[in-house]
């Protein structure tokens, strides 16, 4: 995409015009959840919530990959990273997420070889360059990160790179939406679906959700104009009692999505039950390696001792991730819990809701 195109989607005039249209349309209160943490950050960074009428409440969703990665997975990561023959690789955000007692940064400070990579393919390259080492990639993230992880496994298999493995922790969006909508305390009236996830998966799999729960869904991008357009689509549907999937991000997303990427994902991975940090186990909400690729599973390759781990009793991250509490509602927010010493993952990540509230404070707050 050209830069000029992105600039256009930051137009203040167009954003305000769309906000004006939302104000004219709205007749009663609606709660709209943006799924993705990247959207939460953009909303607070540009102060878009300040442009909306008071009837519209934005609820921040669970779409922050590091926030929902379970404490068990982080403890496994730490155990693997501390083994002397291991080079442990991860996306940068994950390094600061607190486990029960330590994080990957502190493991690195204690001598573990922990490296930030921008792509899992860089981890495969590291494995090729260091045949005497075991290179492990922490496979976190939503459907967005999975194609490159699947590609890295296929590449390692083709080239017989046997010292590469992944710690599987990927999660899927649709099962989380089911879990939110089924919950008895659900307040969500409509969703902004995550544009990057839909660029891979398309939006056909959201159509049954919109129909089953009578909940409008707008596939939404990350620039101010995209977000306002997505909110407008939701409000228009809610006000006219329509419950469909609409695409406010058509420059990147089609209904079918990226078929080649989807094929690669289903070749390597299969849905498994997964624990979400702060939320609990959601059925078939994660991706595990298919039996043909289980040799690339770091959990099998390393002997791990399972330890009982527990969260800080102060942290209400689970409530925040389910959209039932806002970060400032937490008694530890800005006190015991800050980005410099986070108690929970949402305070760490550049996509976490707590970090967004910490960083992009409202003047009245």
């Amino acid at each position: 995409m050209s830069l000029a195109a992105t600039e256009g989607f930051r137009s203040a005039g167009l954003t305000r015009q769309l906000a004006g249209e939302i104000r004219r349309l709205v007749t009663r209160p609606w709660n709209i959840m943006e799924i993705c943490g990247g959207q939460t950050h953009a909303i607070l960074q540009y102060g878009l919530d300040q442009l909306l009428p008071p009837e519209i409440t934005l609820i921040h969703g669970p779409g922050c990959p590091v926030c929902v990665t379970s404490l068990d997975a982080i403890e496994n990561a730490l155990q693997i990273a501390r083994q002397p023959e291991v080079v442990f690789t991860s996306f940068g955000d994950m390094l600061r997420v607190p486990g029960a007692h330590a994080n990957l940064f502190s493991a690195r400070a204690e001598g573990a070889d922990v490296r930030v990579v921008y792509s899992p393919l860089d981890a495969v390259k590291l494995a090729q360059e260091n045949p005497q080492k075991q290179v492990v990639f922490f496979a976190i993230g939503f459907e967005t990160t999975v194609p490159s992880i699947a590609a890295s496994i296929l590449h390692a298999e083709r080239n017989r790179i046997n010292n590469f493995s992944i710690l599987p922790a990927n999660v899927l969006v649709p099962p989380a939406m089911h879990a939110i909508l089924k919950s008895p305390d659900n307040r969500v009236n409509a969703f902004l679906a995550a544009g990057h996830v839909c660029a891979v998966m398309g939006y056909w799999e959201y159509e049954p959700i919109a129909a089953q729960y009578r909940t409008p869904i707008a596939v939404t991008g990350f620039e101010p104009v995209d977000l306002m357009r997505g909110i407008l689509m939701c409000v228009r549907q809610l006000e006219s009692a329509r419950f469909e999937v609409e695409n406010a991000y058509s420059r990147a997303v089609t209904r079918a999505g990226n078929r080649a990427a989807q094929d690669m994902i289903s070749q390597v991975f299969e849905p498994v039950d997964r624990q979400w940090r702060g939320i609990g186990v959601i059925p078939l909400s994660g991706l595990g390696l298919r039996p043909d690729y289980s040799d690339f599973n770091a959990l099998k390759r390393f002997r791990l001792v399972q330890q009982a781990v527990s969260e800080s009793p102060l942290c209400i991250a689970g409530q925040v991730l389910r959209g039932n509490a806002r970060p400032p509602d937490c008694p530890a927010f800005r006190k015991e819990c800050t980005p410099a010493s986070p108690l929970g993952a949402p305070m760490v990540s550049s996509e976490g809701a707590c970090a967004a509230y910490y960083r992009y404070q409202r003047v009245s707050a």
């Binding site: 203040a12 954003t15 990247g38 102060g47 410099a340 550049s350 992009y360 404070q361």
Partner: protein, 359 residues
């Protein structure tokens, strides 16, 4: 000063004389002949002057550091570590001179002398070291400062990251004049000498693992000529500070706290080059928190803002100067950002390391 150029035996450690194109070995830190060879043939070749070359344990000064009447002494010290040593637009040598020169210059002082100590890791290539020293010489010449004392130590391989440089700077500021972080007043204008974030992106990119290329160059530069001119022309100047680590936002939060004021920035006026903005968008970084090594924030009374901008724009390192905000009121110290959408949010200090986002 001349030294006999003989191969020296270093006892148990690597008895090789200094070879052109060679590398640093432990013997270079022995304090014996190899150390002397390194100092004479490499360090003095680039940084030498009468005071440094005297070769004593310390520099004997005959009044060089005595401030002229009406001036006071300003001192600063700064340690420099950067990976990689060389990046587009600069290197650790240029940084180590400019960083300290700028710290002295920000108080309105004219920097005069530096000291430098070098920690060399065994295995560092001598041509690389020479390239760093040549760059230091060039920056010293540009800033018009001299290095009057220096030291070098060698660590075993793996105990340092190639080369660390610590410099100290000495300069003179007019006595009785306070250009410090606690002087910002409501009614002041906030200016910046040019576009932000170039150094941070240039260094990140030089690490070679971003997966994209751009022509972003570090802005590393000595600002003392610019700040001296500014001080002379604008006697009511309140604050000058270089937004290095932590970037514009962190530096202004510090100033707001020191001065007990609220500063409001107008986001559309903050200059950020398009390639820097694009890199930040891709990586999920905020340019307001990226490091700069050749920019200065200037805070001065509103009435002088326009002519100060005009002055800055005549300078080599101020051509992209912009007015970016105002000091709006007394407070316990707060930095506000007015966005292009007419919304306002609070900017805080950078917490921890800025990390690229995932998806």
């Amino acid at each position: 000063m001349t030294q006999p150029n003989y191969p020296a035996m270093q006892g148990p450690v690597c008895p090789l004389p200094l070879q052109p194109g060679g590398q640093i070995v432990i013997g270079h830190g022995s304090g014996g002949g190899m150390t002397r060879d390194l100092i004479v043939n490499v360090f003095q070749k680039y940084l030498g002057n009468a005071i440094l070359n005297a070769g004593n344990d310390s520099a004997l000064l005959s009044g060089e550091l005595t401030p002229p009447p009406g001036f006071q002494l300003v001192v600063s010290t700064d340690a420099h570590v950067v990976f990689p040593l060389f990046f587009p637009g600069g290197d650790i040598g240029r940084l180590s001179v400019c960083g300290t020169v700028n710290d002295v210059a920000m108080l309105g002082a004219q920097p005069k002398y530096l000291t430098a100590s070098f920690i060399l890791e065994e295995g560092l290539s001598i041509p690389e070291l020479e390239a760093v020293l040549a760059s230091m010489r060039e920056a010293c010449t540009e800033a018009d400062v001299r290095i009057i004392a220096a030291d070098t130590k060698v660590t075993e391989k793996g105990k340092a990251d190639k080369l660390f440089i610590t410099t100290a700077g000495f300069g003179y500021a007019p006595a009785g004049r306070r250009i410090t972080g606690d002087q910002a007043q409501p009614g002041d204008a906030v200016l910046i000498s040019g576009a932000l974030g170039n150094h941070g992106i240039a260094v990140l990119q030089a690490r070679g693992n971003l997966g994209f290329q751009s022509d972003v160059r570090s802005d590393a530069a000595p600002l003392n000529h610019l700040t001296q001119g500014l001080c002379a022309a604008f006697p009511d100047l309140h604050v000058m500070r270089d937004p290095t680590r932590g970037g514009l936002a962190t530096t202004l939060v510090e100033i707001a706290g020191q001065s007990g004021v609220t500063i409001q920035l107008n986001e559309p006026d903050i200059p950020i080059d398009q390639p820097v903005r694009a890199a930040c968008d891709l990586l999920g970084l905020d340019p307001l928190y990226l490091a700069n090594e050749g920019k200065v924030i200037v805070i001065l009374p509103e009435a002088q803002a326009e002519s100060a901008l005009n002055y800055l724009r005549t300078q080599k390192y101020g051509s992209g100067a912009r007015r970016i905000g105002s000091v709006v009121s007394r407070s316990s110290g707060q930095l506000l950002l007015r966005t292009a959408f007419g919304t306002t949010r609070i900017l805080d200090m950078l917490a921890g390391e800025m990390l690229p986002r995932i998806c």
